[in-house]
Subunit: 212 residues, 2 copies
């Protein structure tokens, strides 16, 4: 398959959330123009994005909302549940563990890990915190497909190495540091301080230009 840009994948997520929203309201048909307006892009962009994966619409009519939803869910890999572990049972880890939005999309947090003896055994977001010493074995036994890291920056690379060594292929990190992983592992980092710096850059550099 042709390489798909990350920006395209992000937009597919947006299209899907609007399809599910209007689908829930009983709308059966939509157009690239509708999706573009709701998703903040252009109709040509919508059609181009979809064209990488096939042709799902009917000329003159548009797209079937249920059908396109289904196809997008398949493309995004949301057909089945994904087991997620959270590494780091701090405030942010706990907040994520009980964040309902994940479950709605098929992401189930089935494990929380920490190295702090005071936290191990307590529950965090409805899940009992396990000793991080068990993490490698649990991954090897197939318990998780995705790890979310909410550990301090200085420990994050070590955890990435540990989980990739155990065979995990997808990591979402909230640690404010740059991480590296083998090429066959997908690693995304959300760095909140960096997002704020994007705002202050705009504030100080007189930028108009609402950059979503």
């Amino acid at each position: 398959m042709k390489r798909i840009a990350e920006s395209t994948v992000r937009r597919l997520s947006i299209y899907l959330s609007f399809l599910e929203e209007i689908g829930a309201r009983g709308v059966l048909t939509t157009s690239s123009d509708d999706l573009a307006r709701l998703g903040g892009t252009t109709s040509a962009q919508v059609r181009k994005d979809l064209s990488f994966f096939g042709s799902f619409g009917k000329r003159g009519l548009g797209y079937s909302v249920p059908e396109l939803s289904t196809r997008l869910r398949e493309i995004l890999g949301l057909g089945n549940k994904w087991n997620v572990c959270i590494v780091g049972a701090g405030k942010i880890g706990a907040a994520l563990a009980r964040y309902a939005g994940f479950a709605e999309r098929g992401f189930v947090v089935t494990g929380v890990y920490d190295s702090d003896p005071h936290k191990i055994g307590k529950t965090s977001g409805g899940v009992t915190v396990r000793d991080i010493a068990h993490l490698e074995g649990d991954i090897k036994s197939g318990a998780y497909q995705i790890a979310i890291l909410t550990v301090p920056a200085e420990n994050a690379q070590h955890i990435v190495d540990l989980v990739t060594k155990a065979g995990l292929k997808a990591i979402l990190s909230f640690a404010p540091t740059r991480l590296t992983a083998p090429a066959d592992v997908t690693l995304r980092t959300v760095n909140m301080a960096m997002e704020l710096e994007g705002l202050t850059f705009a504030l100080t550099n007189r930028g108009s230009d609402n950059q979503q």
Copy 2:
């Protein structure tokens, strides 16, 4: 000033964090090649990014770590403190309110707002939760430059409208929905479910290509 790409600004943040890290270790000089290696890019990219703002290095020698740090802090608008309010005193709001990483970068959470009478008056992350009815007035009196939104998706657009009407120009939203704001307001959205979908897309469609 020429329009600066968002990707460039993100990289500037990365460069800065490495400069501060090596600066704290006493390193006085660095090169575009060092910064590139640490930041996961190329030396040409580093030099190009910096060139939009001036020329800070010495040919043959590289960059002075303290000087380049200072210049990047200026460019990113980190010279002074920024007052931040958090709207939505749920789990994520509370976690962010006490997140130390913000303060290190000059972001000070001086207000937390909610509409739930059970939360108003309680403290969240060391700050007393105020009634959201006060938010507009507080912004108008200059209490904040930045708002962080941790409210449910269905309320988020309303809050964006409220804070922009009050004159705020920078918003960071964690609500899982697309938002719109006037062109002179900078609005960034962090959507955790969307980040996870980027991972599952990679898991189901590819085996390779570590997209940072």
